[in-house]
Symmetry: C2
Amino acid sequence: MTRESAFPQVENAPAPTRRERVRQATSREIKEIARRHLTAHGASGVSLRAIAREMGMTAPGLYRYFTGLGDLMEALQADLFAELAAAVDAAEASVPAADTDGRLLAALRAVRAWGLANRAEFALLFGPAASQAAAAEDSPAAEAGRRFAATFVALFDQLIAEGRFTVPAEAEASPALRSQLEAFARLTGFSGDRASSGAIRVLLSCWVRFYGIVCMEVFQHLGFVADDMEALFEAELRDLAAGLGVAYRAP
Amino acid sequence: MTRESAFPQVENAPAPTRRERVRQATSREIKEIARRHLTAHGASGVSLRAIAREMGMTAPGLYRYFTGLGDLMEALQADLFAELAAAVDAAEASVPAADTDGRLLAALRAVRAWGLANRAEFALLFGPAASQAAAAEDSPAAEAGRRFAATFVALFDQLIAEGRFTVPAEAEASPALRSQLEAFARLTGFSGDRASSGAIRVLLSCWVRFYGIVCMEVFQHLGFVADDMEALFEAELRDLAAGLGVAYRAP
DNA sequence: GAGAAAAGTGAACACCGTTAGCTCGCTTAC
DNA sequence: GTAAGCGAGCTAACGGTGTTCACTTTTCTC
């Protein structure tokens, strides 16, 4: 087992003991199985007992790894956010770095594609905020969510920097709205000086619109419109891009 | 119990027998209690055994009224759609019939208000399409959903009739999109001749946008923006109205 | 009042999350 | 090298769930 030493230790990682490694592996396995059950039977189809059974152990044993089913689901949520973020990054990376327009379009399409390919997972991330009351601002899941959002914040930030779209006059917004938008910009990490509340408003509006069309499709409302809503999505994306001063391109 | 005869029989209703009446009452009671549990503990907090316990009977007895938990939830969904539709109609009715603009704004605000006041219920109606595979096109729930949608179809239809907004050129849309939009118009009952695919596209786009902002708020995403997203909602509503040629008015 | 149909019950099956107390084996300290 | 300690996992148990089946009780109809 000294083969492991072939992989150079990550700097500052405190030499994970053997126990630690097998622990990580078990934890990963639990989440893998949970993910499979999620995909196959939806969020309510994930059960500790079934997972344990599949692993050849008993349910109480899982409590050594997660404090309960809710905790597992939260961990899963964090992983899924990371997976989605990776899918988005990959899509973005397949476009020249200088091509901001292409990167934004690719990123948005990647979110939709991932959602359609992973309905239950998408619902877990973007559906009704189940139980978690306040959703613990500092939970790993929330953290992963922010990391996902960061990709889009960066893209949007660039649009602002390049002065792509015309910003509505500040006077149009009520003071309440303005202060909310400013707080939002601060929290999400938009570059403070350039990102006027008007610009944030435009971006947030686009994001809401995008969220709406993707949720509708993934949650299978408007199912009566058509099986394949790609045409509608692309039409919406075209409008969205237009509003942002981004040149639309067919996929 | 002959007091019942004081209420004139509804025409064509085949004289409900006493048994039938008490059956209806029990059915209503089951749904009432289910609704309370839904409100209090979310969709997963609705259980047949708990309902039966509260009614002083046993769970298997409920199978005389619903074929299972899923069936109950579907019935509940239908009732909730009706309740939401009633709330919307009430809001609409509080505005002069001739004031199309006011009625539309009131109707949209009513949906948001209902959703915020009934989060779990809203999630049941507009959240991820749980299990029901195809969601049975002809289920009572789907029927109730269509009746809810009809209110907005009527309002939108009127906007089209009044030629409120400029319709994008037909040529802009791909053939695939056009045929989808036309199918949609047919299915939802837009008045065929006037409702061009372009007009439908504008309306659908607005609906998606509205869906997006309300879902985000009700599902408590963007929770970090602010507790009270009313300002943002109103801003969005203003834009939406502008796009439809509807005069925005503060609530 | 007899017979049929509906309403409701009890027991059982197969699941579920979670807790408590225990055993066994690996790791660490002496 | 051995003894202590700690972590992983197990068994048993509690209370909860949906659902089925056979049975009894109630109610309506003739």
